[in-house]
Symmetry: D3
Subunit: 297 residues, 6 copies
C-alpha cells in the first residue's frame, strides 16, 4: 500500500517561466527515457518478483521514490507554463508574422488539453506507452534494462540541464542527475552481488549451454563485403576470452548455411490471385490448380 505527504522530495523553483522548456521537460515525464516509465517498471518488477525477497523490497523502495520524481517534473511543467496563455493571445493577435512564431516551440496541448498543466506524454506530445515497461522475470536481464533506463534518463537530464539557464530548473535537474547516478550504481550492484558477468552470462544462465548451437556462441559474424574499409574486427569483441569467460571470441565470415526458402503453394481459401496458385517449388501452371478450386465451388 502507498502513502504520501504532499511535499516535494526536492525543491522545485522556476525563476522565469518558459513554455518552451515545459515542452522539453515532458520528455522526462512521459518519454521512453522518462520517470513514468522507470516508476512503473520498478513497481511491476517488484510486484512480479518471485524471490529472493530482498530484491522485491529494494525495487519497491526505488519505484516509490520515482513517483516523487514524476511529481517534481509535473510541478516544474506547470510552473513553466504560468502566464503563457495570456502572452500567447497577444502574440497571435499581432500583425507581425514573426511574432506568431513564438507558438513554435510549444506543446499546444499544454493549453488546449491541460489548461497549463503537465501531460502524460513526451516532448512531441506522443502519449506514454505501456510497452516500455520492461519486466522479464529474469533479474539479470531486468537489471541491464534498468541500468540503461537510468543511463538514458541521466543523459536526458544533462541535455535538459544544458538547455536552460534558469537557476531553479538547473538545481532541480542537478538533483535528478545525482539520483540517476545512484540508480545506475544500484542496479549494477545487484549484478555484482549476483556474481558478475561470469555467473550471470549468457542471460538466462539457466538454459544449458549444450542446448544452443555452441559453435556460434562466441563468433563475431561479419556481413561486410568491403572488408578493407572496415575496422569492425579490431575490437575487444573479435578475439580473446569472452566476457563471460566461457569461450574465446573469434571472427566468422557471414555465409548462408540455410536453404533458399520455398513455401508451399497458396491455400485457395485465402483468396490470393488465381495467377499465384502454383507450387512455388516448381512453378507449374497455376491455371489448372486455380481452375479446380473455382469450379469445385
Amino acid at each position: 500500500m502507498f502513502y504520501h505527504d504532499g511535499k516535494l522530495q526536492y525543491p522545485v523553483r522556476v525563476d522565469k517561466p518558459n513554455p518552451q522548456f515545459a515542452k522539453l521537460l515532458q520528455q522526462a515525464i512521459g518519454g521512453v527515457e522518462g520517470e513514468i516509465r522507470v516508476c512503473l517498471q520498478y513497481l511491476f518488477q517488484a510486484w512480479n518478483s518471485r524471490g529472493p525477497k530482498k530484491y522485491r523490497d529494494m525495487l519497491l523502495e526505488t519505484g516509490t521514490e520515482e513517483i516523487a520524481h514524476i511529481e517534481m517534473l509535473a510541478t516544474a511543467v506547470a510552473l513553466n507554463l504560468e502566464g503563457s496563455s495570456m502572452a500567447l493571445k497577444e502574440e497571435m493577435a499581432a500583425a507581425n508574422p514573426m511574432v506568431e512564431a513564438v507558438m513554435g516551440g510549444r506543446d499546444p496541448r499544454h493549453i488546449l488539453s491541460a489548461g497549463l498543466g503537465a501531460l502524460a506524454s513526451d516532448s512531441n506530445g506522443v502519449p506514454f506507452n505501456g510497452s516500455w515497461i520492461i519486466g522479464t522475470g529474469n533479474i539479470a536481464s531486468d537489471m541491464y534494462a534498468n541500468v540503461h533506463a537510468e543511463a538514458s534518463g541521466r543523459v536526458l537530464a544533462t541535455r535538459l540541464y544544458e538547455l536552460t539557464d534558469d537557476p531553479g530548473m538547473k538545481d532541480m535537474l542537478a538533483f535528478l542527475i545525482a539520483r540517476d547516478a545512484m540508480h545506475q550504481n544500484q542496479w549494477l550492484a545487484v549484478l555484482e552481488e549476483l556474481g558478475g558477468p561470469a555467473v550471470n552470462l549468457p542471460i538466462p544462465n539457466s538454459f544449458p549451454g549444450a542446448s544452443q548451437v555452441e559453435d556460434f556462441a562466441y563468433s563475431f559474424v561479419t556481413t561486410s563485403i568491403n572488408k578493407q574499409d572496415s575496422l569492425s574486427t579490431t575490437g575487444r569483441w573479435a578475439s580473446g576470452p569472452s566476457i563471460d569467460g566461457k569461450g574465446q571470441f573469434n571472427i566468422r565470415e557471414g555465409a548462408p548455411m540455410g536453404q533458399e526458402p520455398a513455401l508451399k503453394a497458396t491455400d485457395p481459401t485465402t483468396h490470393a490471385q488465381q495467377q499465384q496458385m502454383t507450387d512455388a517449388a516448381d512453378d507449374k501452371s497455376f491455371l489448372e490448380q486455380a481452375k479446380d478450386f473455382i469450379t469445385g465451388q
Copy 2:
C-alpha cells in the same frame, strides 16, 4: 548500401506446422524483445555514430546480420501456418463447440490480413513500434540498452524453445539462442574496451560530477514506512564502495526537502470553472476574480 543472397543464415525447418506456435513466434519478430527492434536499433546507432569509426563499422555488421534473423523467423511463421486455413474451415463448420476453440490460440490476422504469412507485430497482434529503437548517441548508454535487448531476446528464445517439441523449430531457436549469447558478450566487450564501470559511470561521464547534487549520488533512499519487514537495505547497494569507485554507498531515509507545491491561480483564458479562479496560495474569493474576467469581455 545493402545486398542479399536469397538464402537463410541457418536452416529453417518445421516438421509439424502449428499455427499456435506461429503466433508465439511473432513476439520474436515484432515484439519489444524481437528482431525488427534489434535490427533497426543497431543500424540507427551505426548511422548516427559520430566516432570512433570502429564502433560504427561493428554496429553495421551486426545490424545487417539481424535482418537475416527476421527473415528466418518470418519463414518459420509462414511454414507453421501451412495447411491451417483449410483445417480451420472444417473446424468452424463443426457442431461441437469444443472444436471451435481451436481458433483460440491463433492470431486471426495470420489468415485475415496476411493470407498465412508473418506480420510486423507481436504475439498479441500489437504492431511493432518505432519508439522501441534506442540510440541516445551516448555509447555506454546504448551498449547497456543493447545488452538488455539481447538478454530479453535470449530469454524469449529459450521460452519459445521450451514451448515447442518440433525438432526443426528447436534447432532454429538453438541457433538464435547462441547468437544472442555472442551479442551479449559483444556489447559488454565494448564497455570493457571503453574502460569498464570505473571509467564509464555515471553515464554520461562527460557531465561534471561537481554539477550534480553530490550528496545524493550514492545514497540508497528508502521510502518504506514498515522497515522491520523489509530486507531492502541488506544488499550490495546499501554500503561499501560504489560500483563506479567514485563514492560510498549509504542509506538515507526518504524525507521531503521541498515545499508543498502552490501553483498560481488559474489563467481565466484557459476557461477553468469560475469556482476555480482563485489564488491557490490564499484561497481568496474566486467569484470576484471570475466576475472581473467575465464582465471584462
Copy 3:
C-alpha cells in the same frame, strides 16, 4: 513525496490459479477502464491543480490509494499464473489438437515477456496509453471524467466478478467494487459542493453565454429522414427546462445553414497531379495553369 509499507490494502487470494482469468484481469490493470489510468489521472489532476487547495489534497489521497489497487491486481495476475507454464509445456506436446486449444484464452506475453507476471497492458495485450489520462484543468469537466472512469471501472469489475467462481478473486473484486462505488459518490460530491448543474453547466461556465450562438444552445437537432420510425424526440432532452436551468429544450430539424465548401485551387508546390490544378469554383482548364507551373521552372 510517496511512501509504501509493502503490504496489500486488502487480501489477495487465489484458490485455483487460472491463466485465462489472469488475462481478463489485465483489463483492470492496463485497460482504458483500469487502475493505471485512474491512478495517473487523479495524480496529474492533483499536480496540475491551481486551486482551491482542498481539491488538490483530496485528489492526491485517492490517486495514491489507486497505486495500491494496481498492486493488488498485479499480485492477482501473478498468482493466477502460478503453475501454468509447466502445464502448457505438456499441453503443447500432446497429440490431441483439442489440448493445444488451452493456449487459446491466454495472453502469450504472460509467459514470453513477463515470465508469469503482470503486464502494463489490457486484456488483449494492447499497451497502456498515456492519452487516456484526462486532466483539462477545468474541475467540472474533470469530475465528470472521473465519474465515468469509476463507473466503467465498476462495470468492468462486476463483469470480472461474474466470470470467476474463485472465492479469493470474488472477495478481492467485491472490495474494488465497493471502492468504485465510493469514488463515484466522491466525484459527484465535488460537483454538488460546487453548486450542481445549475452553477456548473454549461462547462466551462466561465465562457460568456452571450458569446456562443445562443439559438442552438438548447436545441435537439434531428438528422433523421425517417421520423415516423424514430422515438428520438420523446425524451426529457426534447422539451421542458434544460438541465442547467438556463434555457428551454426544443426540437430543431437538421438543415444546412452553411455553404457548399469551395477551397482554392491546388497550390502547385504541393505537387498534386497536373489535372487537379484548376480553380475548384469554376472548373476552368487546369492544363493551362499546370503548364505555366511546369514551364516556369
Copy 4:
C-alpha cells in the same frame, strides 16, 4: 443508412488564413476531445444499444450531427492552410534564421502528407486512436462519458476561441460551443429521465449492494501521512449522506488489511536466472533447486 447534402451545417469562413491555427484546430478533429471521437462514440453506442429504443434513436441523431462537425473543422483547416506552402518556400530560402522559425508552429504533415489539407490526428500530429471510443453497454456509465466528452470538447473550443481573432473562425467556434452546451444538457437529461443519482448510483445499479464489501462503499480513505497540512477531509465527500442516498460518507485512515505478497518460486521453464530459483517465502538456497533443473535436462 446515411445520407448527405454536401453543404455545411453552419458557415465556415476564414478571413485570414493561419497555418498555425490550422494546427491547433486539429485537436478538435482528431484529438481525444475531438469530433471524430464523439461522432464514433455516439454511433457505436447507438449500434450496440439493446434498448430502450428511444435512446438508440437519439444517439443516432446526434452521432450523425457530429459527422457534420468534423466536416466543418476539416474545411476550416483546409481554408487556414491556403497560401501557406508558397510562403513557406520563401521563408525557408531566407538567410535570416529568425524567418525560418515561422515553420515552428505548423504541423509539417499538413504540407508533407496532406498537401494543405486536414489530417485524422491531433494538434501534435498524434493519430486518432480507436481506444477513445467509449461504449460500455451501461447507459449511465456511457452518459457520464458523454457529458465529459462534451465538457472537454467545449473547454477546448473556448480555448481555441481565445486563441484567434479571425471573425470567421470565432463565429464557427461560437456555434460549436453552443452545440456542446446542448449536448451536455442532453446527456444529463437522459440521466435525469432514468431517475437521477439516487436510482443510477452506484453504477452499475444492477449489481447487488450486498455482494460488495459494504463497509468500504462510503468511506473516504486517506493515504496522507501529513494530515495537519491537508484539507482533504473538509469537503462534501467526507461526511453527510452519500450522493446516491444509500449511505453516510465517513473518513477511514488508510491501512493495509492484506498480507505482504509472497509469490511461489520461479518456474524453471521461464528461464529466470538460476540465482532466483528459490522459494520466496523462506529464501532457501536457490542453487540446489536450480542445479536440479539444469542437471535434469
Copy 5:
C-alpha cells in the same frame, strides 16, 4: 451535412450467434483493411479536395455509403455476441479444463468493455489508428491507395466468407464483396478518366522529369550477390518500354555511388561519453577534446 434513416443498407441476419466470428468481424470494422478506414479516408479526401468538383462530390457519396457498412458490421458483431455471456459463465465454472478453452477465440473486451457490443478495434483488439487515413492531396496517388483499400477489404471479406457457414453472415458478406468490387472499378475509372498511366505516371506528374536523376528513373536495381539463383530480372519490369511510356526498362547492378558517411565529432553538450569525443574522420585522441570541454565548465 449528414442524415440517416435508422435502417440497414442491406439485411443483417445471424442464424447462429458465434462470438468467435464476432471477433473475426472486428477486422472489417476497425482493422487496417476495415470500414472505418475507408469511410474516413474517402470523407477526408472529399473535404480536402481542391478540384475538380466532381471528384469531391463522388468521394462524398461513397464515403457516406461506407458509414452504412460500419453500421452493418457493428450490428453483425452485436448479433453474434447474443447469448454468449451466460454461456461463458457456465463454461468458466466447469471443472473440465478443455471447456475453459472456449474463451480462446473471443475478444475479451466484447464482454469486459462493451457488454456484448462492437468495438472500434481490429480482430486482435488493437484500436483503430488515424494514421491509416490516406489523403495526400494528389488524386492519382489517392486513387491507388483507394484501389488497394478496396482490394484488401475484398480479400478480407472473402476470407471471412470462407470462415463461416452462417447463411445470414454469408449473405451480408456477399453484398459487401460486391460493393468492394464496384469500388475497385470506381477508383480505377477515375484513373482512366484522368488519362491512364501514360498521363498519370510518374506520380506526381507535376514534377518536371528533368529535375530527377533521370538515369535511374527506369532502372531495375539488383542487390543480389547470388544472381544465378534469382529470377528477378526475367519479368516485365526488366526490359521493354516502361508502363508510363516515357522510358525503357533496364537492369542496373547495385553499386554504391556515394561515400562512406563521416559525421562530425560529437557535440559535447549532447553528453555522449568522453571516449566518443573525437573527430570521426581521423580518430584523433578524444581525451584532449573531452578534457577541454569538462575543464571549460
Copy 6:
C-alpha cells in the same frame, strides 16, 4: 541473408545544416509514406511469398535497396543537425523572446533522445508503426498497395525538394524521386504481366463472381439528398463498361434494403443499468426483468 559495404547508394551532402529540415526529413524515414515502411513491406511480401518464385526474387531485390534509402536519409538527418545544439544553447539564453522561437520547427527529441541523430519516427515525432506494413498474400492487392506507397513517397519527396534550397539535399532527393518513379512503373509492370485489370479485377479474382450479390457489383450508389448540386454521376464510373470488362456501370439511388436493427435485450450478467433490461423490440417494462435478475442472485 544480407550484406553491406558501408557506403551510400548515392552521395549525401548537406551544404548548410538545417535542423528544421532534419525534422521534415523524418517523414521520409519513419512516416507512413517513408522508407522503413516500404523496406519492411517489400521484404515481408517476399518472405511470405508462395509463388511464382520470380516475384519473391524481385521483391527481395527492391526491399534490400530500400534499406540503403533509410541509410541515406538517416545520414542526411545527422548532417543537418550538426552544429545545432550549441546554437540552441545560445538561443535559449537570449533575452529576446523571438530568438527562442527558433526551437519551434525542431524535433526536440533529435537533441534530447538521439544526441543529434535520426529517429525511427515521422516529422511530428510519432513513432513508426508496424501496422503500416501491408502484405495480404494477394499479389494484385499488394501491388496496388506498393504503387500507392511509391506514389505517396514520391509526392513527399517532391514536397521536400520544394522546401529546401540546399544543393546537396536537392540532389539526394532528385535521386530518390527517380527511384520512386521506377518503382511505380515496376509494380504496375507486375500487374500488366499478370494480365491487367481484365484478368486481375475484381481482386481477389479467385472468388467466384456468382457468389457475390452481383446486382451491386457495378452500381455507383448515391447517398446525396441534394442531387441538383452534385456532379458525382457525371464521371467515367457512372456509365459505360466497367474497368474489369465484366459489367456495365450504372447508377443506383441509395436506399435501405435492410431492417431497422433490433438487438436482443441486455444480458443481465453484463451489468447494464437495471433500467435498460428490457426487450428492445417491444419496450416492455424493464423493472420486472431486472428485479428477477437481482432477486435471483
